[in-house]
């Protein structure tokens, strides 16, 4: 069998696995839909949530379509080379790939959102029959999203490669996915925290009514937020990371030749297959722990990936060192997830310390949570460093620096191999969070609430781990993209007949300048998003006040009186869309400016500074946010004075600060880094030829 035939067979195989994932997703979707949902209040509420989520997504996609349109025109004119310099067909393919990337990502998000807003009510109702059926409804709903995201990313990348056989075009696909994710994550993040904070502030703090009380005009918006921020946003984020890791590996693998490209597709397809197996094995007994169930399916996926890839490495005679690199990536991803868990788990010291410090007042809640958040950065940064270094050294003997960098990119592919499982777990969280709210709105009673509370708490624990994982994966991916950038620059330089680059030297003042500016960008980016939440929440709070003042009987809960839920959704949506654009544009424009001033050397430094400070801030913000959230819940479960105590009030302040940390700014930084890295690679020819210094 010829190498080319074999390569094509592997591509068809990858497409087959992607279709299998879609088929499985369809089966899961139908299973979820078959579960009973009869409570009229719940049906009504889920209807409102679904309608709200659809409204948000429609408006968001309308904004993004305009952005993508402009970007497509620019890409057509300038990428991979200015249209008057290169062949027009390349530019056309690049535009097509870019649009494919945005559309695939959007579709995956849409599917996830649709099923999540069906599964939430099912999960709530199923809790009447016990924890097992309720868990299954939530988990399988989430798994639809997991399968859709990874299936779509694998299908998209494979199709583009099959049609063009050009790795640079894959970067265009990846850039499409990333630019959509940048806005989807930021927009969803702003929406969800606007609604959450405003609902809590007026409902719980000012009026003293319970969370999820249907009198609160923002309660539906809050539930919509869980879906658009955590389900659709996180899905777009991991879609993006997954595609970017494949793109980086393909750029370097195709430059190396041999069967390296085959290996990338094989490993990516096996990762999805392993995730399918993992999802299939998820089971929970009548008295079982949902956390254990979620974790055990993750371990099954990990083991399946290791075994399957080892078998194919043996069969197809791939280099064992590269296999080793991807296993290193996978192992480090799991380890970082576990250390993240230490800082946010309510049975560990940090949560206890912050809860205790809260007795002295909110300033101490903030200071101690902030400090532990900073500490939590250490193991993850070292872990990423060790993973990159080991993968490099392991693969260097295969053929120098090119193989070494390819090894790093395969470590990223390995780390992201289980992403189908990760997304499933991640989407489970907001579904059961919603189910808890619906159980409250549908008056399903204390017993049901206790079950949904347990499922929700498992969701929070798993979420902390998957967030650490997502950031680590993005970190390793962008390190690989730095390698891809260098490879692209050298390809472009060779074509232009000018000298390529061998290094980004810190002592080169252009690199150092880039480092400093690149490091500042994530700080500014996250500040802009958080100020966006702040401004947007002020608008929404004003609207909630207006409704309580103007709608007679609402505060008292008079029969038949209802708040104008959709007004709140509208305000939160419009505000979020207004706030998301400047932050995203700032990051993009900064890249342009640095590149056109300082050329490729400055961009190398810029990417590196961006990665380092981005990882630092993303890890710190996600972990301190999770820590504050769990410290509040720990106090609510009866410690340090319990609900209503001074410690609890202080912990609520911490939780409110932590909300935009962990759900808006922290995870959006991932995407910001990826977008900037992809832009750099795509524009390498431009930066090489047009720059001031």
């Amino acid at each position: 069998m010829g190498d080319r035939t074999m390569g094509n067979l592997i591509l068809y195989g990858a497409i087959l696995v992607a279709l299998l994932a879609f088929a499985y997703a369809a089966w899961l979707y139908l299973w979820v839909k078959r579960q009973p949902c009869e409570n009229r209040k719940i049906i009504k509420a889920t209807g409102l949530i679904r309608a709200g989520a659809r409204t948000f997504l429609r408006k968001e996609y309308a904004v993004l379509a305009r952005f993508a349109g402009v970007a497509a025109v620019l890409i057509f004119v300038f990428l991979p080379k200015p249209i008057w310099q290169g062949e027009i067909v390349h530019n056309i393919w690049m535009v097509v790939a870019y649009i494919f990337g945005t559309v695939f990502s959007a579709i995956a998000g849409k599917i996830g959102l649709e099923v999540a807003t069906i599964a939430n009510g099912r999960s709530a109702e199923a809790a009447k029959k016990g924890i097992a059926p309720s868990f299954m409804a939530g988990f399988r709903g989430g798994a639809v999203m997991g399968m859709a995201v990874v299936g779509a990313s694998l299908l998209g990348v494979t199709l583009v490669y099959l049609l063009t056989k050009d790795a640079t075009t894959i970067l265009g696909f990846s850039f499409g996915a990333s630019s959509l994710a940048l806005f989807a994550k930021a927009g969803g993040g702003i929406f969800t925290k606007t609604a959450d904070i405003s609902a809590d502030l007026v409902g719980k703090v000012e009026l003293g009514i319970p969370e999820d009380d249907p009198r609160n005009p923002a309660v539906i918006a809050d539930n919509v937020g869980d879906n658009v921020g955590d389900v659709a946003g996180m899905g777009a984020d991991l879609f993006d990371s997954n595609v970017a890791s494949m793109a980086a590996a393909l750029v370097m693998g195709s430059a190396l030749g041999g069967n390296n490209v085959d290996m990338v597709f094989t490993f990516a397809a096996l990762g999805l297959l392993a995730s399918i197996i993992g999802v299939m094995t998820a089971r929970i007994g009548e008295k079982g722990s949902p956390t254990k169930a979620l974790n055990s399916s993750t371990y099954v996926t990990t083991a399946a990936f290791a075994v399957l890839t080892a078998a194919t490495t043996y069969l197809f005679q791939f280099p064992w060192r590269i296999w080793g690199a991807s296993i290193i990536g996978l192992a480090v991803g799991v380890i970082i997830g576990i250390t993240t868990d230490y800082f946010t788990d309510d049975s560990k010291k940090p949560v206890h310390y912050v809860a205790n410090a809260s007795k002295t007042g909110p300033a101490f809640t903030i200071l101690s949570g902030f400090s532990y958040g900073l500490l939590s950065v250490f193991p993850a940064m070292i872990g990423i460093g060790v993973a990159a270094f080991s993968a490099y050294k392991l693969c260097e003997p295969l053929g120098g620096i090119e193989y070494a960098l390819f090894g790093i990119s395969m470590a990223a592919v390995g780390m992201l191999s289980i992403v189908g499982m990760i997304v499933s777990n991640d989407a489970y969280g907001p579904i059961v969070d919603n189910a808890r709210g619906l159980a409250e709105m549908g008056d399903l009673g204390e017993e049901v609430l206790a079950i949904t509370d347990e499922l929700d708490s498992a969701g929070n624990t798993v979420k902390a781990v998957t967030k650490g994982f997502a950031i680590a994966a993005a970190g390793l991916t962008v390190i690989a993209l730095l390698g891809a950038f260098m490879s692209e620059v050298n390809t472009a330089a060779a074509e232009l007949g000018i000298a390529g680059i061998q290094s980004f030297d810190i002592m080169n003042p252009m690199v150092f300048f880039g480092l400093l500016v690149g490091a500042a960008v994530p700080a500014v980016f996250s500040a802009m998003l958080m100020l966006g939440v702040d401004r947007n929440a002020q608008r929404l709070v004003a609207e909630i006040h207006r409704q309580f003042n103007e709608i007679i009987g609402l505060k008292e809960g008079k029969e038949g009186v209802e708040p104008e839920y959709d007004k709140c959704i509208e305000i939160a949506t419009d505000g979020a869309l207004k706030e998301l654009v400047p932050a995203g544009l700032m990051a993009i424009i900064a890249t342009f400016v640095v590149g056109f001033i300082g050329g490729v050397q400055a961009i190398g430094g810029f990417l590196c500074g961006n990665i380092i400070s981005g990882l630092l801030l993303a890890l710190f913000m996600s972990n301190s946010g999770g820590l504050w959230d769990n410290a509040k819940k720990y106090i609510e479960s009866g410690h340090e004075g319990g609900k209503g105590s001074d410690a609890h009030k202080a912990a609520v302040v911490g939780d409110t600060v932590g909300d935009p940390f962990k759900d808006t700014a922290g995870p959006s930084i991932n995407t910001q880094i990826t977008v900037v890295s992809l832009m750099a690679s795509l524009m390498s020819t431009l930066f090489l030829t047009i720059s001031i210094f």
Copy 2:
């Protein structure tokens, strides 16, 4: 006249200027001492403050002496080369220089502290006669510190160079100053914020008694804290930066030969001379603004430095390009100070925004202040990048990368040239802050309080600017130290007969690993310090509660009943000393571990990561802390509901969070970066010869 003779003359000239600074300091000291201080309550309180400050310093120096003893032994055995490999006389000189560095820094701190605790009472009493005499007492007291710090650093560096003619030994002197500063800044910072937070928490929040009420057992500790943290600590910090910038310039200048060393000493001496002129011109009219008076003397110093250095450059035929580099440094330092001011000035948007957001509750105070703090990083990082890049490009034509890096180091020398003036302004702040407290304790009446309030507020404004300046200067200095490190490595490599290094390539996995770990260190370091403040404050709060419970009549303010002030000072001191050691050791040990694992390449990355994340965190923490402080004061001056309103309560939470940000963690990071950079240079031979990879 031979070059050598001329060089020696310049060294003698530098010594002369240093002695002149001491003489002027002595004159200022006697002037301050001659001012009347008759109020018995004030005499008593200043006596207690002085005694408390002395106790702290004695205990702190005892701890540091033990640390320095251990360090001295290690230096003797290993530096600059292991004793069995090199010449013992070098190691002896290195130890002597190291001990000199610690002793000179300690003496400068001690002098500043003594005069500050005299000037505070004088300034309070003088306020009875009007703002002008009160200002002069505070300013001249601060200027003693300014002159002592810069005089001692210039004298020390010149003496060591005169005796050894070896720039590497200057690094030893600088390391002595830095290691002392690391602990002095961290220890003082923990002490001052422990006392401040605890006094406020029990006094203002729990009991509702005014700030500086003599019934509060921690009130003296609070005033002691201002002196040991802001006067002695900040003095040690800037002593350290000043010496480090000279050391870096000398290492590179002496490697280049020519009259470059002369230029370093000339410019440093002229900077001190310019500061003397600036201090001499400080005047304030009867209705004058203290802020203007402080700023105008800074501008006088800046102008004097520019003119004097231009004249000598012409006279001694130094290269004009190098002169240009130092002027760039100076200009950028001033510009960064001004942009920092924007984010903390109470007439600008950020303070207004945070004050307004406080109406919605403490969570919004924190979120908005945090966001603006992150935004404030941007102009400063770009400014440092531009300064380094311009200095590099300006000096490159003189002779390649070596001259270019020397140019960066001279930009740092230029930026730090006005440090005498900066320290004077900086020490003025805590003196008038103390004076305000003493005026309250001495019942000097409302009019006097109004004057001391105005002086205090000017101190806060200037402090924000000088802090931005100090961080920027440290940033540029450590960039220069990175160059010095490379130069030291190459010298060592040449002696060992092995290949030197030409670059620190980001794509080298060892460098990248170093980058990631180095970036995490400042985060962990500041987290450890803040947790230290948190734990220490809990101990002190318990003691204050004990005194209010056990001492009968204290709470009611019964005549003759006094709290046990010294008990509080003791607890804050012992706690601070216990908490400061682990954080400092962590930074030092991390450097060892990275160096011995990854060698000089990993250390290059480590330093770079450390600089970048250190600058980011230091700028962010100092600025958001200053912003919260001023937002609180802005509300207290009658905006957004004024004192006692909900907005005020929220702003107090922000201020409490900001206290350890701006006075403990933020400014300590400077010193941490310098220590690590100096260690790297000193240990370059060791890292070259002994490392795992």
